[in-house]
Amino acid sequence: MHPLGEKYLRKNALPLLWCPGCGNGTILNATVRAIENLGIRDRLALVGGIGCSGWIPVYIDADTLHVLHGRAIPFATGLKMSDPNRKVIVFSGDGDCLGIGGNHFIHGARRNIDITVIMVHNQIYGMTGGQVAPTTPTASKTKTSPYGNPEMPFNGCELARASGATYVARWTTAHPRQLSKAIAEAIDHQGFSFVEVLTQCPTQAGRVIHGTADPAKLLDMIKANTISANAAKDKSAEELAGKFLIGTLHHDTQRPEFAGYYYEKIHKAAAAN
């Protein structure tokens, strides 16, 4: 085990429950590095939803909540409001964050509360057996869409930005260095931070949607389907069709943060009485 793994992971919970080649482990790896670089272990609170990705915080030896399906952001909001010095990180899957918890997600972003949401985007409901998810590409065949998915997938980053998130970034597990840096930036940012991670699911999305269970091939496919946000600026709409923009997509440091604003008002009201 890597020395950072020795330092930050719960030994009694190992080995990690994910399938061989699952991207969740790479995200855990990148998160542990970000926590080490920022030195915030003592004031860390991690919240996980339901799904494979909801297990990421369970392995990190810090204060952890593993909560109801889709309700990771409301729990994190309560946690942040009761203890505003905490650095709260939410791990959520695409189904957890945009499907079941979609409403909580947009309202968390609207409030601009200082929590970091790391959304693991694997295009499918992996843990429950490969059902169609809000991010499954149109026309993909899954267990519950055998004739092709008729729906359009959500764009998590656009939704976060439109809802008022002040830090929005997207990376893939094929960019572990940049991912770790983006997670550190998101944790450091005062406000609602959203990091979408495109990741491979060899067992469900791989076999069912992409026709291969080889994690390396899947990761190559994901990487080939992305374009850096800077390079995309002078590209036409046809060239960008179906591509995911990667990089820091939005960073606004001007908007006031919710918990800080709220406590300021409380102190003012208390002083006035």
Partner: protein, 68 residues
């Protein structure tokens, strides 16, 4: 030098695929879980870029400073 933790490796070979020098190869040896674990075929070629260490989903790889 690159150390592979045989206890935690699940043989996904992402390290091998992303190694820029392509020196991580299957060793033919199985670990306790039954996965064929990789080995460093040409340790002297390693540039210590740490890509394998960063991409490893099991945190099973460690790249140590010093001589190969």
């Amino acid at each position: 030098m690159v150390i592979i933790d045989e206890l935690y490796c699940k043989g996904c070979y992402l390290c091998s695929h992303y190694c820029p020098k392509k020196i991580i190869k299957p060793s033919g040896k199985r670990n306790g879980k039954g996965y064929i674990i990789p080995c460093i075929a040409e340790p002297e070629e390693c540039t210590k870029c740490k890509t394998c260490e960063l991409i490893c989903p099991e945190l099973a790889l460690t790249v140590e400073e010093g001589a190969n």
